[in-house]
């Protein structure tokens, strides 16, 4: 009861302090509290003191009011400080945690500060600091969580993407409440990442937020929210509506989400869209689709498009039709089922007829697409394209070689494909020209120059194939035998005496260190093959550069120094004092990187 009066006194006193003490004199609300205080004061003297102080305020004048009010405030605050509530009744529930215990680190303030600055400020060079911290596992320090969340809103979009992609998922579900708290339905940029991360971590739990975003979110967020739909049939009606939206990004997001739903309406909507101009935009959805009807649609439409080609005589129309066929074929990437195999086989069999179709893009481009899909397809498809190698040239032969590397032992691949390398540039006969073209196809495949195709025709990252198995060691012998410099550098491996000798000769024959970029390729190869003279050659090149007027080429050397063996540290450190001032700092950084490298494996 007494404390209740005291809190009333506090509230009145606070009111007077906010308004200013000039209104305190004669304040009737404070005056009304004096009698109950005096009554309580009979039992506890401290209340009598409060009553006295309150009376002093009420009876004060403009001059004495401030001091009287402060006296009262000091007294009341002192008492209230002793009355602070603690505790919390109720059932004590365990904290739902994500056990990051084993991966947790505790970094020092000096290590964390630059990283926090990179995340909380703007300016150049920050992405590198953040990438480095990710690589070193510094983000496992939980104290960086807040900064990482802030990084989502970084004005430099790559930082936001990096954080959303690599850092936040590491913290797991525990980070969700904070992301939810920060999420703004009307936001842009960082909030797009937030919604994607939330959906990635907890698709079911994020459903409600996705729905809210669809109702009230910003235009950009709505598109992301649509992308997050398609896990439930409840979404169907809405997605069907959005699939007809005028804005392409909205329409495409809805159509991609619809490819996840197994309902007649969804299939119909996707089929309709695929028959029109939106086909190219929804390739990713069709490629990932597991709905049988959509998988059949891809096969049926591809066949229909293929059959239609022979009837088209107009070059422009033919080019358009071929382009559309190729878009449909892109939807087959990654499919290993019988229908896809049958279609690819059919296309492969028609390769001669297709090659004769001249347009932009041409039938040859279709053949390239088919060869790519077969090489990355099932074992059966790989075998077909390997068996058909004799009739191939150019990129399809490169893909045949890739398929063989995946399907057959390295020894067998060498025996089958190495004879092609013997073709020389010779345009005297058609046969010789074809042999040379085949030779170039294998050389390109060995140098992995054919991967550009994946980007050219829109396979994107999916087109970046996994590293193929090791090659037969005899490939390098052939390269040395034919004095093929490009292949020698490409196929270089340690402990090959002939190659080592060639590298030494090549380095000795260099005209000058500066400006001769080729020298750096030689040095790089020497390091890669652990050439015994690699360190000496790098040092000699550094010395040559030090004598020259231009040291701009030292950049290339600083890039390869960290890959040298650790034994190079001592001679390089000895060299440092002899280098000119303009070279010494970048070289020093490189030597430090080499010195601090955790293992002795060339990077």
């Amino acid at each position: 009861m007494s404390i209740a009066v005291l809190t009333q006194v506090y509230d009145e006193m606070r009111r007077l302090a906010i308004a200013g003490s000039s209104v305190a004199a004669g304040d009737f609300r404070l005056k009304k509290l004096v009698p109950p205080l005096e009554k309580s004061g009979e039992k506890a003297p401290v209340f009598a003191k409060v009553a006295q102080a309150a009376t002093a305020v009420v009876e004060s004048n403009e001059k004495t009011a401030p001091a009287a009010l402060l006296e009262l405030a000091t007294l009341v605050n002192a008492i209230l400080y002793t009355q602070g509530e603690t505790g919390k009744p109720g059932d004590l529930q365990p904290i739902e945690t994500v056990d990051l215990g084993a991966r947790q680190t505790q970094a020092s303030a000096r290590l964390l500060k630059p990283l926090l600055e990179a995340l909380f400020t703007t300016g150049s060079g920050r992405l590198e600091i953040i990438r480095d911290a990710i690589d070193r596992g510094v983000f496992a320090d939980l104290r960086l969580v807040k900064a990482a969340l802030k990084g989502l809103d970084d004005p430099y979009p790559e930082i936001g993407e990096l954080i959303a992609d690599k850092v936040l998922p590491m913290y797991g579900l525990a980070i969700l409440p904070e992301i939810r708290r920060q999420f703004n339905l009307k936001g842009k940029a960082g909030h797009l990442h937030r919604l994607r991360v939330m959906h990635r971590l907890d698709p079911t739990g994020t459903r409600e937020i996705v729905q809210q975003t669809l109702d009230d979110g910003s235009k950009e967020l709505k598109v992301v929210a649509i992308e997050c739909l398609g896990d439930s049939e409840e979404d169907l009606t809405f997605l069907l509506q959005q699939a007809k939206a005028k804005a392409k990004d909205v329409r495409v997001a809805a159509l991609i989400a619809l490819t996840r739903l197994v309902t007649a309406e969804a299939i119909e909507a996707v089929t309709e869209a695929a028959s029109g101009a939106d086909l190219a935009a929804i390739v990713n959805g069709l490629r990932e689709a597991q709905v049988p009807a959509l998988r059949k649609l891809v096969i049926a439409e591809s066949e229909k498009q293929l059959e239609a080609l022979s009837a088209i005589s107009d070059k422009k129309a033919l080019g358009t039709a071929i382009e559309r066929l190729m878009v449909w074929l892109r939807c087959l990437d990654g499919r290993h089922d019988a229908d896809a195999e049958s279609l690819l086989k059919k296309l492969f069999q028609q390769r001669t007829a297709l090659a004769e179709m001249s347009a932009e893009p041409s039938g040859t481009d279709v053949n390239e697409t088919v060869a790519y899909l077969m090489a990355n397809g099932s074992a059966k498809m790989q075998q077909v394209i390997v068996d058909g190698r004799e009739s191939l040239t150019g990129p399809p032969l490169s893909y045949s070689f890739d398929a063989a590397r995946r399907a057959l032992p390295a020894k067998k691949v060498f025996e089958m494909y190495s004879p092609y390398l013997k073709g020389k540039p010779d345009k005297k006969s058609k046969k010789a020209a074809e042999a040379f073209s085949q030779s170039e196809a294998i050389r390109n495949a060995l140098c992995d120059n054919s991967s550009g195709y994946a980007w050219r025709w829109g396979f994107g990252r999916r087109g970046m194939r996994e590293a193929p198995p090791e090659l037969d060691p005899r490939w390098l012998d052939v390269a040395v035998e034919q004095a093929d410099e490009v292949l020698m550098v490409q196929l270089a491996r340690p402990n090959h005496p002939a190659l080592n000798q060639w590298l030494s000769q090549k380095f000795a024959a260099k005209k000058k260190a500066t400006g001769d970029v080729h020298v750096y390729d030689i040095l790089r190869t020497m390091i890669d093959v652990q050439h015994p003279e690699a360190t000496a050659c790098v040092i000699q090149t550094l010395q040559d550069l030090a004598k020259s007027s231009s040291s701009s080429y030292s950049y290339w050397l600083t890039q390869i120094i960290p890959s040298l063996p650790k034994t190079a540290v001592t001679p390089l450190e000895a060299l440092l004092p002899t280098l000119p001032e303009k070279m010494v700092n970048p070289v020093l950084e490189a030597v430090l990187e080499l010195k601090n490298r955790s293992d002795d494996v060339a990077v």
Partner: protein, 485 residues
């Protein structure tokens, strides 16, 4: 014999850049001469700089816990990169150092240092002579300052907290400068803290502050005003006592001298007997924050005395203007051993300082010892905290180590419970020096939520009238999980 390693040199560097540059000098082969003296207590050498003449640098380990670094370079960083480089060179290439006679100028400086140290000891032993006239003059000036502080405080009450605006805040800030001139920097800072309640995150006053934001600071503002009022009363009484009795030393049983801004010198603390010998400290938490009101960075270490169990704080103030030249403190993961620890007057968590320190590795027994000092009865701690909070000039956010049975959640709020079922709720509200930490709890492994020790900061919220705590770290059997930075 000099026993230093790379970690020692890293820690001696004022910042990471200086350490990097110091290492760079060694690698670049900039040291022309590397020597040590016959007793191996002094390193000295010559380092080629950008000029013709090399710099002469030396590191004197005659006092191992308090080495002396000297260099002829003009750098204001201390130790400079040349001295750091000299130490790195010693650690990395000890064999390159040759014994040599100490150069005459260096020997002279060493002698002078030894003489100074001797004199210092003599001075410390001799009773300090005070210029009574000067002291009386200073105290009078301080009393005049107190009058000004009173006037400003009363003016603020007269204006009303709700009527504070950028103009009045700027006027008060301007007048507060006079308190600095009146040897009352502490009082000036206290006034700054009041005006800064109405400032934005960048320290500038924004007239367009939203009413809800202003409402949130009113209770704190009133508390600040009553604190200024108490400072005026207690400060005046204290200064009057000193003016009446010129022999009187600063008070050591209350923090009033520090409140007024008395900068305690270690000699004064020694003279007042505020020293502990052969102390071992364990750092429980560390944070570095930007104090806009004081225009400086503040590095705060929270330490546990492994002999007494008392929690104390180190504070390293780095004014913006000189931040580059003052070594920042860092998290410390070992045990700090020191022959002498100076303890400032204060209540629950006094400020501490030391002159020389040697680190030793943290061992499980240290954590066991630290855990044994934690308070297992929350009710007793709560009582002690409330008693302390009553004092208008007391530390309003004391730190305790609490032995808890478990940490959990009730209605979405984090709650810590002791063995008797007494509970405290966890919050970040109102404690902004350290970054927020409650949101980190769900990221911790489950085992840290049962039968561990929580290092926490208490705060009484005047609006909600609740006494709550902010988690700073959790001390387990095997490590200290730091939640703040």
């Amino acid at each position: 014999m000099i026993t230093i390693d790379e970690a020692y040199v890293d820690a001696a560097a004022p910042n990471t850049e200086a350490a990097k540059n110091g290492r760079g000098l060694v690698l670049k082969g900039k040291f022309l001469k590397l020597h040590h003296d016959a007793e191996e207590t002094l390193l000295f050498g010559e380092c080629q700089g950008s000029g013709k003449e090399p710099y002469h640098c030396s590191c004197d380990f005659t006092r191992p816990d308090q080495p002396t670094h000297r260099c002829s370079c003009p750098s204001r960083q201390f130790p400079c990169k040349h001295c750091l480089g000299l130490m790195y060179a010693f650690v990395q290439k000890r064999a390159s150092f040759k014994a040599a006679d100490v150069p005459a100028d260096l020997a002279e400086k060493r002698d002078k240092l030894a003489a100074r140290a001797e004199k210092k000891q003599e001075d410390a032993a001799r009773p300090k002579t005070v210029d009574k006239a000067a002291l009386a003059k200073k105290i009078k000036a301080q009393l005049t300052g107190i009058d000004l502080l009173e006037k400003l405080t009363l003016d603020l009450v007269r204006i009303g907290i709700g009527n504070m605006n950028s103009k009045s805040a700027n006027e008060i800030e301007e007048k507060a400068k006079q308190l600095g001139n009146a040897y009352l920097p502490g009082a000036q800072a206290a006034l700054h803290r009041y005006t800064q309640l109405f400032a934005g995150d960048d320290g500038t006053f924004d007239a367009s502050t939203a009413p809800q934001q202003r409402e949130a600071v009113y209770s704190d503002a009133l508390d600040h005003l009553s604190r200024l009022h108490s400072l005026v009363k207690q400060g005046r009484a204290y200064l009057q006592r000193r003016l009446d009795d010129s022999e009187l030393s600063p008070e050591v049983d209350t923090p009033i001298a520090a409140w007024l801004g008395h900068a305690w010198q270690l000699a004064e603390l020694r003279q007042a007997g505020l020293v502990e010998a052969n102390v071992e400290l364990l750092q429980l938490a560390f944070n570095s924050h930007d104090d806009i009101a004081r225009k400086e960075y503040v590095d705060t270490g929270i330490w546990l005395n492994l002999a007494t169990g008392r929690i104390a704080v180190t504070q390293n103030f780095r004014p913006y203007k000189a931040a580059k030249y003052i070594k920042s403190d860092d998290s410390f993961f070992q045990v700090a051993q020191m022959p002498e620890l100076c303890v400032y007057p204060g209540d629950i968590n006094p400020r501490i300082r030391w002159e020389g320190m040697t680190p030793r590795p943290l061992e499980p027994r240290d954590l066991e010892k630290a855990r044994s000092f934690a308070k297992s009865d929350f009710a007793t701690v709560i009582k002690a905290v409330k008693t302390n909070l009553k004092g208008p000039l007391s530390d309003k956010q004391p730190i305790y180590a609490l032995k808890f049975r478990r940490i959990g959640q009730v209605d979405g709020e984090f709650v810590v419970e002791d063995a008797k079922g007494e509970r405290l709720t966890l919050t970040d509200r109102g404690m902004t020096d350290e970054p927020a930490s409650c949101h980190l709890l769900p990221l911790l492994p489950e085992k840290v939520f049962t039968d561990q020790v929580l290092v926490a900061r208490f705060r009484h919220d005047l609006d909600t009238r609740r006494l709550q705590i902010k988690p700073l770290s959790i001390v387990t059997e095997s490590n200290i999980v730091r939640l703040t930075l």
